[in-house]
């Protein structure tokens, strides 16, 4: 028995996410011996990006791909799964977050989000980590937070944007498609989108020359697939297990892909377009984390489920972040030693 699953994504067909999903679809096809066929659809094919979850819930498409923070208007806690800024203000990096999700109780809370908070007939799978995303692009360099505050900066929408607002940054809201034209014509002084490989494809290098990689508003970002639960329950048990396994494999594969692809894109940005890669001013980090904690606590005070997720992450971070930062220092030291030796 062959099941066909349309997947409405939030990305255009040329996006990396899309290509990785096609690869994912081929793998599932091979592993199920052709019993589950996934057809990946570009943004807008059936519905627009912000209607994906509703469309999957109603069965308009069998599945969808987006980032969970897209639904933070329905339940603010969605943001703690999709793009927990500054690792939820708790210092988790992308890998530490995945550790929380798989080993620290995140997965159960994630299903609770769909069932009890968003109340949709959907099962979700995190499968494409994107982070860390860059701080963004600037027309003129910034030396410190005072400089940053004077720039008209396109921030991501929702809670990450609210954190910048809290920091006193001049946040401008613009739809993705308007960023480059607006930047070229001077509406913006600075903007963020994603990361080297995606930003290169969008053409940010045309409008900006200074690129700051180290940013916190989306240091952790997770793309996920939503499947209509009725459709999911009708799949044979082994097909379900295969899908879950393929989603886990995709976590690793996406991570591996992004490390190399971003590095290569950065080389192209520097050599072909003369982009200058800058160090983020040190006072950015404490300022951001203070604002992030404030915004997180404000949300936790308003929404019990937000508090429940944040508490789970806080407990995890308390145990894990001290160990993990130690190991990160090892990574920095060994890489620095290599780079100095290579000169």
């Amino acid at each position: 028995q062959v099941s066909r699953m349309r997947m409405q994504t939030a990305v255009p067909a040329a996006a990396d996410e899309f290509k990785m999903l096609q690869k994912f679809s081929q793998r599932v096809d091979a592993m199920t011996n052709g019993r589950l066929k996934i057809e990946v659809l570009p943004d807008g094919a059936v519905v627009g990006a912000f209607e994906i979850l509703d469309a999957v819930d109603k069965g308009l498409v069998e599945s969808g791909f987006a980032w969970t923070h897209y639904w933070s208007g329905k339940s603010p806690a969605a943001m703690l799964f999709g793009s927990p800024s500054g690792g939820s203000g708790l210092g988790m990096d992308q890998l530490a977050w995945v550790s929380w999700f798989l080993e620290g109780g995140g997965k159960e809370l994630y299903q609770e989000l769909f069932e009890k908070q968003l109340k949709v007939n959907v099962v979700g799978f995190i499968l494409q980590p994107v982070g860390p995303e860059a701080l963004g692009w600037f027309k003129r360099p910034i030396r410190n937070m005072e400089d940053f505050k004077t720039r008209r900066f396109r921030t991501p929408p929702g809670i990450p944007g609210a954190i910048y607002k809290e920091m006193g940054v001049t946040a401008v809201a613009l739809p993705g498609a308007e960023i480059i034209p607006s930047a070229e014509r001077g509406v913006l002084d600075a903007a963020e989108w994603c990361c080297p490989v995606t930003d290169l494809a969008y053409g940010f290098q045309r409008a900006f020359k200074y690129y700051y990689l180290q940013g916190l508003h989306q240091n952790t970002v997770n793309g996920d697939v939503y499947i209509n639960k009725t459709f999911w329950n009708n799949l044979p048990k082994d097909v379900q297990a295969i899908f879950e396994g393929a989603a886990l494999a995709s976590l690793m594969e996406s991570t591996a892909y992004r490390i190399r692809a971003n590095a290569l894109a950065l080389i192209e940005l520097k050599t072909k377009y003369g982009v200058q890669v800058m160090e983020t001013p040190p006072d950015y980090f404490p300022a951001f984390m203070a604002a992030a904690r404030k915004v997180m606590e404000a949300n936790a005070a308003k929404d019990p489920f937000f508090k429940k997720v944040l508490d789970s992450q806080a407990k995890f971070a308390k145990d894990v972040v001290p160990y993990w930062v130690n190991i990160q220092k090892l990574n920095t030291s060994v890489a620095d030693a290599y780079l100095k030796g290579a000169k």
């Binding site: 255009p12 067909a13 040329a14 996006a15 570009p42 943004d43 807008g44 094919a45 059936v46 519905v47 627009g48 912000f50 209607e51 509703d54 469309a55 109603k58 069965g59 308009l60 498409v61 613009l174 739809p175 498609a177 308007e178 480059i180 034209p181 607006s182 070229e184 014509r185 001077g186 509406v187 494809a201 969008y202 053409g203 045309r206 409008a207 377009y273 003369g274």
Partner: protein, 439 residues
């Protein structure tokens, strides 16, 4: 019947059902419901909900009522007709001088707006009655207004290129730079065509009668200055704020509206009645445009959900043709698809499916994008689903829809000529981005 074939029947039903004479927006909704329900059940109703809601949140489309309001205010206050009058006076001995005036304004508007609806409506409001009064040929007039107005989506800024960039993986700025020369080329072709037609048959665009010629060069200059001041102020306010980087197109449209409010007050034309009329008419014109945009988005979404577009494209790929022949076939298919569809489903659904082949053939993607863009210009001028005809009919009700159709079809042929030019001379598209972005 497979869903794909239900989609084929839906298309056939549209092409006949549209002639029943029921309002088109509702016809699209109803056909979408019927065939969508047959193809994939009651989820089609949710599809309508989500498509309408998406259009309601589409901030760039907020420039439609703003540009309409700006145009209506100026028209009601009688501040724009003088420019046409002035151009006509200045070129009194030339047949078809208003065609030049329309294309002049069309090109300026195209550089100010990224969408078609606002341009066509504004031009229609400004020019249609002047052309009637001067006894211009209705078809040629309607053709040049619709064709000139559709340049808005080719000459940057362009909503279509913004959407297409990520789809084909080319920076939007490259596409913008690449579209400028083909856009101006089309403008030139339209103008030359209208003037040649007038030279052959002067009745199509009569010159002013000798008695109405200006008394002196000074009189012309005076008229010209007086006619030019209001639009010049507005172009500075609206287009200027967009081009010089103070505002996004939607904001620029609002600044234009504010500017026209101020002008109307300064010229002492503002009355309560004028404001009330302009506001109500803005609502009517914006509603008929935007409700139709939402309805056709829904119709297109049903069509894609049925899988028909994919079936049609795959049939094409199975033919195994040579690169040039395939490019020509791809262009022919897009041209045919643009007949019943608008550019949105074509850019979002068909282009990605054809893309792997185009890449395989090592065709320059920027060039390909511009070919698609120029080709899709025809979607606006191909009846019966030709939104610009309805936009124009909305503001020039005295013109028969049949005449508008016949006029715009002539210009559709000119667009194809432009497409052939860009196909033969890729440098028309690729030269400017090369100059701007090589280091």
């Amino acid at each position: 019947m497979s869903p794909e074939w239900i989609g084929v029947w839906m298309l056939a039903a549209l092409l006949s059902g549209i002639f029943v004479g029921f309002p088109i927006a509702f016809t699209l909704i109803i056909l979408g419901f019927l065939f969508g329900y047959a193809g994939f059940g009651d989820t089609v109703f949710y599809l309508m909900l989500y498509q309408f809601f998406s259009v309601m949140k589409e901030q760039t489309l907020a420039s439609v009522p703003l540009f309409v309001f700006m145009g209506l205010l100026l028209e009601q206050a009688g501040l724009l007709e003088r420019l046409f009058r002035a151009v006509q006076l200045a070129l009194a001995r030339l047949h078809g001088s208003l065609y030049i005036a329309v294309m002049f304004c069309a090109t300026i508007f195209a550089a100010a707006t990224g969408i078609v609806g606002a341009s066509v409506t504004l031009l229609g409001i400004m020019a249609a009655r002047s052309m009637d009064r001067s006894k211009y040929d209705v078809r040629l007039s309607a053709g040049i207004i619709t064709a000139g107005g559709t340049l808005g989506i080719l000459i940057p800024p362009s909503v279509m290129l913004v959407v297409m960039g990520p789809v084909i993986g080319v920076p939007v700025t490259d596409l913008f730079a690449a579209a400028i020369i083909p856009g101006l080329l089309l403008a030139a072709i339209y103008t030359v065509y209208a003037l040649v037609r007038c030279a052959i048959n002067p009745a199509l665009g009569p010159a002013l009668p000798e008695a109405e010629h200006a008394a002196s060069k000074m009189a012309i200059l005076k008229e010209f200055l007086q006619g030019l001041v209001p639009p010049a102020v507005l172009v500075l306010a609206s287009l200027g704020s967009i081009l010089f980087g103070f505002a996004t197109p939607t904001e620029g449209a609002a600044i234009g509206a504010t500017g026209s409010l101020l002008l109307t007050i300064v010229y002492r034309r503002m009355t309560r009645k004028l404001l009330y009329d302009s506001v109500l008419k803005t609502l009517e014109v914006s509603c008929l445009i935007l409700f139709l945009v939402a309805a056709s988005n829904f119709f297109g979404a049903v069509f894609s959900r049925l899988g028909t577009p994919e079936m049609m494209t795959r049939a094409l790929l199975d033919l195994q043709l040579s690169p040039w022949l395939l490019l020509i076939v791809v262009m022919a298919v897009i041209f045919l698809l643009a007949w019943p569809l608008e550019w949105v489903p074509i850019v979002l659904i068909f282009v990605p499916i054809m893309l792997p082949i185009i890449k395989e053939l090592k065709i320059d993607l920027t060039w390909f994008g511009i070919l698609v863009a120029v080709n899709l210009q025809t979607a606006w001028l191909s009846p019966p689903v030709a939104l610009s005809a309805y936009f124009l009919k909305g503001v020039a009700p005295q013109w028969q829809l049949a005449d508008i159709y016949k006029g715009m079809m002539q210009f559709m042929v000119l667009q194809l000529t432009g497409l052939v030019f860009v196909m033969i001379f890729p440098q028309l598209a690729l030269w400017l981005p090369g100059v701007l972005y090589t280091r």
